[in-house]
Symmetry: C2
Amino acid sequence: MNAEIITIGDEILIGQIVDTNSQWIGQQLNKIGVSVYQITSIQDDKEHILNALKEAQERVGIVIITGGLGPTKDDITKKTMAEFFNDGKVIEYPEVVVHIQKMFKKYNIPYKKVQQYQAQLPSKATLLMNNLGTAPGMWFYENNTVFVSLPGVPYEMKGLITHQVLPRIQKKFKLPFIIHKTIMTYGQGESTIAERIEDFENNLPPDIKLAYLPSFGRVRLRLSAKGENKEELETALNAKVNEVYQLIPEIITGLDDDSSLEKKVGELLKKSNQTIATAESLTGGKIAATLVSVAGSSAYYKGSFVTYSAETKIKLLDVSAETIKKHTVVSGEVALEMARGVKEKLQTNYAIAVTGNAGPTADHNDKSVGLVYIAFVSDDKEIVQEFNFGQPREKVINRTVSKALEILQKEIH
Amino acid sequence: MNAEIITIGDEILIGQIVDTNSQWIGQQLNKIGVSVYQITSIQDDKEHILNALKEAQERVGIVIITGGLGPTKDDITKKTMAEFFNDGKVIEYPEVVVHIQKMFKKYNIPYKKVQQYQAQLPSKATLLMNNLGTAPGMWFYENNTVFVSLPGVPYEMKGLITHQVLPRIQKKFKLPFIIHKTIMTYGQGESTIAERIEDFENNLPPDIKLAYLPSFGRVRLRLSAKGENKEELETALNAKVNEVYQLIPEIITGLDDDSSLEKKVGELLKKSNQTIATAESLTGGKIAATLVSVAGSSAYYKGSFVTYSAETKIKLLDVSAETIKKHTVVSGEVALEMARGVKEKLQTNYAIAVTGNAGPTADHNDKSVGLVYIAFVSDDKEIVQEFNFGQPREKVINRTVSKALEILQKEIH
């Protein structure tokens, strides 16, 4: 079963916001065996919406629409869907009226009659109760196609997808299994890897797809399969993964399997009941934020210092002024003292620290842009590594974060 | 002139990555007067690509395609574009070969013959030199439509858009001006605001559009206009902005004008040559990361403490154990001592600190989920505020960040 996601709202088209909703919906649909065939972002415009609905209906069996369900004039999704289905009748849902009144009371906002409009749905719609907001979701089944309309507010949309939409889709369709296995590599470019696994790739069965995903110095190899029998799929994919392992053993860091480096680092720390802290310069807290993004990270993540200036490195992390003078702020020696300092201050088992020059301009101590030092310290080991991540700034920062996590994954046990 | 952005790659559809490229391209096109009519994300599949190109050509005058230009088998964009334009001839560009060889030499990777393919373009393509990667961009003008194909790697794409694509579009088309003014409000919901400015909205001229963008407790009102005369547009929009200011004066925090709260906070600090530091609990460094995301922030941003546990709050920020015992970790008293502590440690003019319970489960000290305290400290002022941001976790964290920045914008001068 194929799906299309349609997001409605000029804010995406003019670049005012990033469309993170579609990514999340794509992941959820994939997990229950629905492939996303296309994602389409369109304007708050009646003709445009009607046209997009018509095109989507020709392409897929499930259409998920987000956005345009608010109570204001620029929110035209509900009206337009009614027109699309030739549905002139409206039904008011008393339970939605009660729910909206309750919400307004809770947040101490006077309830206004205009809110009642939110409780009225086209007669062909099935109500999808939205416990986190005032705009209900709608489910239509017309012309052999499921149409689901949801509010664009991320947490409201997520609640509706999880509790209402996915269970209904699973009940309505007999769905296959979709499995992805992602092999993480480092140190070689995609063309080199492609050359090394050329025979393997040429001999893949048609129902297994291989994709190369290069990103900041690492290439992920994603193998995907779709089928009725989950165990057979797993077996087939695992066999293929093993073949790749045998062809390029020395550049594989592991399997991704839906789980990120930060999650793996977290698992390693939890399992061994150990803790970690971070000290960052050029990455400005991005390593910390990445580690903390994992739910439950408070069990092992003790804290972070973002020390931009030489002065704060000395004051907060006990880096010696002597070391900075002798080696400059962008040096392995300073990275190491930062790591030692934060480990000592926060009394953790591990610490990682980074210092470097992300650009765009070289700083006064004249080290070249892109130069980065990462130091890792544990109870019985100290490592310092030098990298040159080139430019631009964004790439240097992201590669530093990725490399730091890679080192943690390798060294923590 | 309308444009469509087409992103090619299953990684977006299965939710493996977020499509941030399209947002950025949308912003850049808007700035030179091109409206993005639609964004379409499609699979690495020949028929799908051909179909999307055909549909886009019927809708818009400029089609920007990203992705699928790598050297591996799953990268089929170049071949497919050649087929779309019935272009069987290929031209090899010696300057691209030289550039690729140089890149490989710089990064110390053996140059392979397979790379040569990257230097070969369909004969109808105009070469767009990519100085940051091996895949050149391509510019086609066929059937009165501009087609631009770019690599999907963000910094390569950005370089090509900035230096090659935008100047060419501006040269080729006489473009109008597109202007957006966004009015930031707080404290009232979109339906209440809509009611208050109903007459204003009903009397807007057809060439000025109004949109409501609710997000984590704040509603942004975006007024957009498009026209040939920039000054006339500015005057007309400014008049409309003034009308809104007169209708809802007490809930407006300012104009957005493309600049975010964190940028404004940065400008305020730079102008007065003052500094700031942050101490965060539930937000895990997100306030720091937001402040640091502004280029040049090292001039005023001194550093951050992420203190998850009561223990680190005591150890790093000199919060008193007595205070925590008496008031619990989630209290105004603790927020205030955190702010004082970080201000003292980093010797800044301002400090902001947050503590709270983001959920999903209430913690052992039994304060309800969603409860957040924000403390602001300057040389001559201390403020503590209590909020309940409800749930879920994501909303609590984001509203805390947004509220903290709002307080900074209000209090710094």
